[in-house]
């Protein structure tokens, strides 16, 4: 299968549902949302399955870097809490070890990514030597934000790029992306199954349950 896009996969789903005459109220937007959700689920399942074989890899083609249309994603300071952060450009995929976000780096230094730390890092390491991360910058996720550790007005990056795992809902519907063909097939199958209604159990109004 050639490179794909969200729109292409959604069209495949709708074409299949159309053949079964099931597409009357299903819109592209509905399919986009479900594609994104199912892709995350398929990736997670595959990761877990391969983890048992000591592999535990994620196909590199499933990572996508958001560059803020070339200008980077703006870093801001929270006026109440004082920390520095940027807003996530897409939903994360729930994976172990924070793998949903592969890396965060300054726009000008993409090969020097910051250190991922767990949410609660500050609570745990406050006042300890480790809190300084040996002079480097860390980050963790909270709500719709990625919050920096060891960042002040002096060393705050102006803008960053972020590489995320399968952030389908943050990608334009017609943007060409690479999803391995077998994963595409699995995701599309699952979405079709989701939208295909269950057959009625009893069509005869005779108070007798039909098998």
């Amino acid at each position: 299968m050639a490179l794909t896009s969200k729109e292409r996969m959604a069209e495949q789903v709708l074409n299949e549902l159309n053949k079964r005459n099931l597409d009357s109220n299903i819109e592209y937007g509905d399919v986009f949302v479900r594609l994104s959700q199912e892709l995350g689920r398929v990736i997670f399942n595959r990761f877990v399955a391969t983890k048992a074989d000591e592999i535990g890899e994620v196909d590199g083609s499933l990572y996508y870097t958001f560059t803020g249309e070339g200008n980077g994603i703006t870093v801001q300071q929270d006026p109440v809490m004082g920390y520095w952060y940027f807003n996530l450009p897409a939903s994360t995929t729930a994976m172990f070890y924070g793998m949903g976000i592969k890396s965060v780096a300054a726009l000008k230094s993409p090969l020097k990514p910051y250190k991922p730390v767990v949410n609660g890092f500050n609570d745990l390491f406050n006042g300890l030597d480790a809190q300084g991360l040996e002079g480097t910058i860390g980050y963790y996720t909270e709500k719709d934000r990625v919050i920096f550790v060891n960042v002040t007005a002096i060393n705050s990056p102006v803008s960053v790029i972020v590489t995320m795992l399968a952030p389908l809902d943050g990608i334009a519907e017609d943007e060409i992306i690479n999803i391995p063909s077998d994963i595409q097939g699995e995701v599309v199958d699952r979405v079709i199954q989701y939208f295909a209604p269950m057959p009625p159990k009893d069509l005869v109004n005779d108070r007798v349950d039909q098998p």
């Binding site: 819109e27 592209y28 937007g29 509905d30 986009f32 949302v33």
Partner: protein
């Protein structure tokens, strides 16, 4: 097109009532019968709601259900481009609504399709389908966080004199619809005077029947059925109704 004079000749041959007392059909009445039969036939091919089943609004025969139905009504298919403002596509009434070339658009009868000329990044156009949804779904769709209408995937609702397209920034659309069939007219001149006066076919001022030649028999029995009621002629009416069911 069916020649209206051929149709009239065939109609009177089957009716076999010419000149009989109380059963004379004047040219005006004939034209009325013809146009009512044409309306009945057009509806029967597009889809007759009387054939719906409870919970299943599908007639026995419907437009685009088979190639035959498409062929039978293809002469009514009309395409018109409209430059619109505020997302409002005027519904052609055959007299006042003009398209983007300032031509009067034929009167709208039935829906076929509505497209938005969507501008691609290379400044070329592609036609994007505008989906018609029910009026009670418009609020939900316009405020949807998932399926918000966009220029790429617009929606529309039909109102009295116009079609409201969302988003309202849609500016250039192509409307495909079935137009009303032209009104048939058997025009005539009078020759002779007094009891010898007879209407004679005037080809120049007549309008032929706006239907495929193949359906002339069906149109005839439809007209005969109406005529049978008018003339209190049960045999004629029952024959016509039988032929309508069997198909001719």
């Amino acid at each position: 097109m069916i020649n209206v004079n051929d149709f009239r000749t065939w109609f009177f041959y089957l009716a076999n009532k010419a000149g009989k007392a109380g059963s004379w059909i004047t040219p005006v009445e004939f034209n009325r019968l013809t146009n009512q039969a044409l309306q009945e036939w057009t509806m029967s091919v597009y889809g007759n709601p009387a054939q719906y089943q409870p919970g299943r609004p599908v007639p026995l025969v419907a437009y685009e259900m088979t190639q035959k139905q498409i062929d039978d009504l293809r002469h009514l298919i009309t395409n018109r481009d409209f430059l619109i403002s505020n997302g409002q596509v005027p519904i052609p009434d055959g007299s006042t609504v003009t398209d983007n070339t300032n031509q009067i658009a034929p009167a709208y009868l039935h829906w076929t399709a509505l497209y938005n000329y969507y501008t691609l990044p290379d400044n070329t156009y592609t036609e994007r389908d505008i989906k018609v949804i029910r009026s009670n779904d418009i609020g939900r769709r316009v405020n949807s966080l998932i399926n918000t209408p966009t220029l790429k995937r617009p929606v529309a609702e039909i109102r009295d004199t116009y079609i409201q397209v969302y988003p309202k920034t849609v500016q250039f659309v192509r409307f495909e619809y079935l137009r009303y069939p032209a009104t048939a007219n058997w025009a005539y001149t009078i020759t002779g005077t007094g009891a010898q006066a007879r209407p004679v076919y005037d080809a120049a001022n007549s309008v032929d029947i706006d239907a495929p030649k193949e359906v002339m028999n069906m149109l005839t029995v439809m007209a005969l059925s109406f005529a049978g009621v008018n003339m209190r002629e049960d045999q004629l009416r029952s024959y016509a109704e039988q032929m309508k069911k069997e198909g001719v």
